[in-house]
C-alpha cells in the first residue's frame, strides 16, 4: 500500500510521518516515531497496554487508525499523549515515581498503559474513591501485581500532588 504523509500532534509537538493509510496508531508510534513506551499485549483490544490519551481521554492505540488523527492544514488536530509525554519539567511525574516506590510496576510491560489510565482518572477526578479507582483500572490487565500495590501507588501519588513530591515515598 502506498504511504501518505500525515501530521500528528504527539506529546505537544507536531510530528510528520509517512505511513500506510491503514496503519494503526500504536504501530505508527512504535515504528515510525520510536515511541516504544506504548506496548502491544493482545490481538483483541483487551489488555490496555497500548493506552494513550487522545485529547485527555484514555483510548487504545491498537484499534485506532493513525491517519484518522492527522492534523489539518493549520496543524490543528487531536492531542496524542503517550507515556513518554507524562514526565513533567524533565522529572518523573508523581504517579510514575509512586508506581516505582510502591511496587505498582513489577515486569513493567502493562505499566505505561496504567500510567495513562490513572493520569486521565486523576485529571477527571482528583480524589477518586477506591471504587472509582477499581473501575477506572478495569480496562487494563496486569498479570504480576494483583493490582493491590497499584492502589497504594495511586493514593501515594494523590498525596504527593497535594502535599509535594516528598511525601510520595515510603
Amino acid at each position: 500500500m502506498k504511504k501518505e504523509l500525515i501530521e500528528l500532534r504527539v506529546n505537544g509537538r507536531s510530528r510528520e510521518v509517512a505511513i500506510e493509510p491503514s496503519k494503526l496508531l500504536l504501530d505508527a508510534l512504535r515504528e515510525d516515531l520510536q515511541l516504544t513506551g506504548s506496548k502491544r499485549g493482545c490481538d483483541d483490544s483487551s489488555c490496555g497496554a497500548c493506552t494513550v490519551l487522545i485529547d485527555g481521554t484514555p483510548m487504545l492505540s491498537c484499534t485506532m487508525i493513525a491517519a484518522s488523527l492527522s492534523a489539518d492544514d493549520e496543524g490543528r488536530g487531536p492531542e496524542i499523549t503517550t507515556v513518554e509525554g507524562v514526565a513533567e519539567h524533565g522529572a518523573m511525574a508523581a504517579i510514575q515515581k509512586a508506581y516505582g516506590d510502591w511496587g505498582g510496576a513489577q515486569c513493567g510491560y502493562c505499566t505505561p498503559g496504567f500510567i495513562m489510565t490513572v493520569k486521565a482518572l486523576l485529571e477527571r477526578n482528583p480524589e477518586p474513591s477506591d471504587e472509582d479507582i477499581r473501575h477506572a483500572l478495569s480496562g487494563n490487565l496486569c498479570r504480576c501485581t494483583g493490582y493491590t500495590q497499584m492502589y497504594q501507588a495511586i493514593k501515594a501519588a494523590i498525596r504527593a500532588e497535594q502535599e509535594g513530591i516528598a511525601s510520595a515515598g515510603r
Binding site: K97, C107, Y109, C142, Y147, T148, Q149
Partner: protein
Amino acid sequence: MSEFSVIGKPVALIDSAGKTTGAGKYADDLTLPGMLIAKILHSPYPHAVIKRIDATRALAVDGVVTIVTGHDAPNKYGILPVGHDETALAVDKVRYVGDNVACIVAESESVAERALELIDAEYEPLPAYFDPEESMKATSDFIHAEKPNNVEKDYHHVFGDPDQGFREAAYILEDRYLANEVTHAAMEPHSTLASFEFDSQTGQPGRLTVWSSTQVPYYLQHKLSIVLEMPMAQIRVIKPLVGGGFGGKSEIIPLEIITAVAARKAKAPVKITYTREEVFWAHRGRPRTIVDLKTGVRKDGRITAVAARVIQDGGAYCSYGVVTILYSGALLGALYDIPNIRYDGYRVLTNKPACGAMRGHGTVNVRFAFESQLDELAVAIHMDPAEIRRVNLLKPPCITINGLRVQSYGLPECIDKVLQGSEWASRKGKLGRGRGLGMGCSHYVSGAANSIIRSDMPHSTVNIKIDRDGGVVVYTGASDIGQGSDTMIAQIVAEVLGCTLARVKVVAADTDLTPVDIGSYSSRVTFMNGNAAKRAAEEVKQKIVTAAARKMACAPEKIAMRDDLVTKSGAALVLPDTAASVSGRVEGQILRHSVQQKRKDEGPKDQMSFEEAVVAAIDFSAALTGTGSYAPPAEARGGKHKGAGVGPSPAYSYSAQVAEISVDEETGVVTVHKIWAAHDCGRALNPVSVEGQVIGSVWMGLGQALQEEMVWKDGLLMNPGLLEYKSPSAVESPEIITYIVESIDPEGPFGAKEASEGSLAACIPAISNAIFDAIGVRLREAPFTPDRVLAAIKARNEAQKAAFRGSNEASKPTQFREHGGSLWFKGRGPMRHPADPARAGATNEPDAGDD
C-alpha cells in the same frame, strides 16, 4: 541502629524508572538497521504428516526475502536432556494445531503476512489424541515414535509402607480431583531479535547476538549452539527487560531458534514477535491434571498414609514434563509430616501445545487435591481444618520420608497469622448461608538442588568490580523478569560492602559479560544468585578491609563498613561534611584528591569514606574485583531413587491462606471478598517486593480457582486471547492482606528463601474449602466457574454425589464465548483424519489433504 542498613527496607526496583516512563526497552522495542520481520506459518492440523511445502508463490511476493523450514534446522533440542524431541519448525510431521511449519522473512510484517497465505502446504492427517486417558490407550500413530502408548514418562514411588498406613487409619477418603489447563499469559508476548556479524577472518557469518524475552539466557545459548551447530562462545544472548514470565519463558520457545536460523539464511537481522494467539500456541503452561487421591488419618488427625495417582495432559512435546510429574509427587512431602506415601505419576503426550513449567511448577494441582481432601477429612473426624494441619506439622530440622531436607519452617507461624487476621475462631462456620471461610497451605522450593543438566558446576556465579571512582559494578547472570532480582542483588552487595544502593550498578543476563546463572525458574534466584552475590561482595570487602586496617593501623577484624563509611570499631563515629548525599552519590573526584592529601598530612585516623577505602584497596592490592558462586550442598540434594533429583531444594518456603467468599446459589457465581496470606520467605530482603510477589502469586491462584481455563475443542484452543481467557481484572480482584513471616534460613543469603511461587497453590484449596463452608458443596474440578458450581449444587440437591464424582461431564462449561482464533475465522480448523476416533459425532466434514 538496626542490624542492617540496606536489606529489610522497602526500595523501588532499580529499573522501575524505565518501566514507568516508557524508556525501558523490551525485546520488541529493539530495532537494528536493515532489520527484517518474520512471520510463522502454523499447522491447521492436530496431527499430520507434512507431504509438501511449496513456497514458489510466496517467494514471488515483492519484499519477501526467504522462507525457512524445518530442514534448515533439523537438530532436535528440548529443555531437558531426556526430552530432546523438538525442532523449532516441523521436520516430518506436525503435532498440534498451531505447530510451526514454515517461516517467511520479509521487509515488513504486512508483506510477510500476505506471503504466508501463499505458501502451499500439503498434509496427510493422522489420528489425533486429545484426552490423556485415551491417549495412553493408543496402539499406533504415536505422537513421538519413540514413546509407545504416548506416555512421556511414568514414575512409581513408594516411601514407607502405605498399605500398613491405610490399615492404621481410622478414616480414609478417596476421590478424583481435576484441575484444568491454565497458562502464564505474561503481558509481554514473546519476542526475539537475532543478528549475525561477519567474521573478519573467514568472511562468513560469524558471531550471533540474540536479544530475547527469556528467563534462561544460558540455556538459550546452549540450545542455539546445538541447533545452529555453532560453538557457544560464538553466541551472545542478551536479555533486555522481560515483561513477565511465570515459567512461559523458562525454556526455549520455537521463535527464539527460528529467528536465529532466519537471520542466518536471510543474511540480515531478523525479529519475530508473537501475536497473543501465537503465545497461547507456544504455551508451556500448567497441564490439565487428573489427581486420584487417597488419604488416611487417625482419629487424632494424624495422617497415616497418602496415595496419589496423577495424570498430566502434557501436550505434544516433553518440555519440562518429566520434571513436572516428579514435582507433583515429590512435593507431597516437606509440607506436612507424612509417614507413608505411594505415588504413581504419568506424563502423557496429546496433540495439543506442549505444557511446561508454570508458577508453582508441578505442585499446584496436587496441592489443590490434597488440601481439599484434608479439609474433608477434618470435617469427617470433627476437627477444625486449622487444627488438622497443626497436628501434622513437621518437626525440623528433619529429612522427610522422601528425602527432602527441611531446616527452616515458618508454617506454624503462617497458620497463626492468617487465623488471627481472619478472626477464624470466632467467624468460621458462622457467616451465614452462602458465605464462608476456607483455609489452605502450600510450600515451594527455593531453587532445585540439582540442575537440569546434571553437573557439579555452580548454579550461580557473580563477579564484582570496583574502580577508583567508587562505583560498584555487579555482573550477574540472573534474569530479572519483573520479580526484582537485579534490585535484590544490588541490595545484598550494598549491604555487605556497607555502601549505598545508588553506588551499585547491576549488569545482568548478557552471556558475553556475565558469568553463568542457570536462569529464573523454580524460585532459585534470591537463594542461589543472592548467595553468590554475597560471597563475591565478601571477597571484595575483605580486600577493602585489609587495606583500611593498614591505613588505620589496626587489625582487620576491627573494621566495620556501613553507610558509605569505613570505621575502626570503638572509635567515635564522625560524620564528614562530605558524607553521601540523599541520592547516595559522593563528589568522588574532588573528595578523593583533597582527602588523600589531608590523610597524608594527618596520619592514621579512625574513619574513612567508602571511596577513600576503595582507593586504598586498589593501591594496596591492585584491581578490586571479587567472585562468588553457589552450588547447593550435597546434604540438600535428596535421595538415590529414580527421579530423586527433582524435589530437593536447599530450603522451602511456606504459606498459609484463608479466603472469605460468598456464593450466589441462584447463579453459581463465587465472589472472593478477602484473602489473608502469610508467607515464610526466610527474610524479606525487600519487603515491598516480597509483598508484591506474594500478592501476585495469590492472585494468580485466584484466577486459576475461579475463571482461568484453556478450553479445547478437538485440539483447537477455543479461547486464545485475553478477552476469552479470563484473567481477573481490577474489579474482580479482592483485597489480599499479606503477612511476611521470617524464619531466617541457615543457608539463605541473610536467611532469605523463596517468595514468588509458593503462595499460589494455597489459594485454590482455600477457596474450594471456603465454598464448602459457605454452601456445603465440594468442588473437585477447577476452575470453580458458575457452571460447575451450579452443577455441583444440582448434584447435591439430587443426592447424586456418587454419579457426579464418576463423571466430569456434568461440569464441563457450556456457556463459553468461543472464537477459536484466526484459524477458526478463516474456516480452516479443526480438520482431521476421517478415521480419527475424536471425530465421532462431529458434523463438519474434514477438508482432507490440501490446505
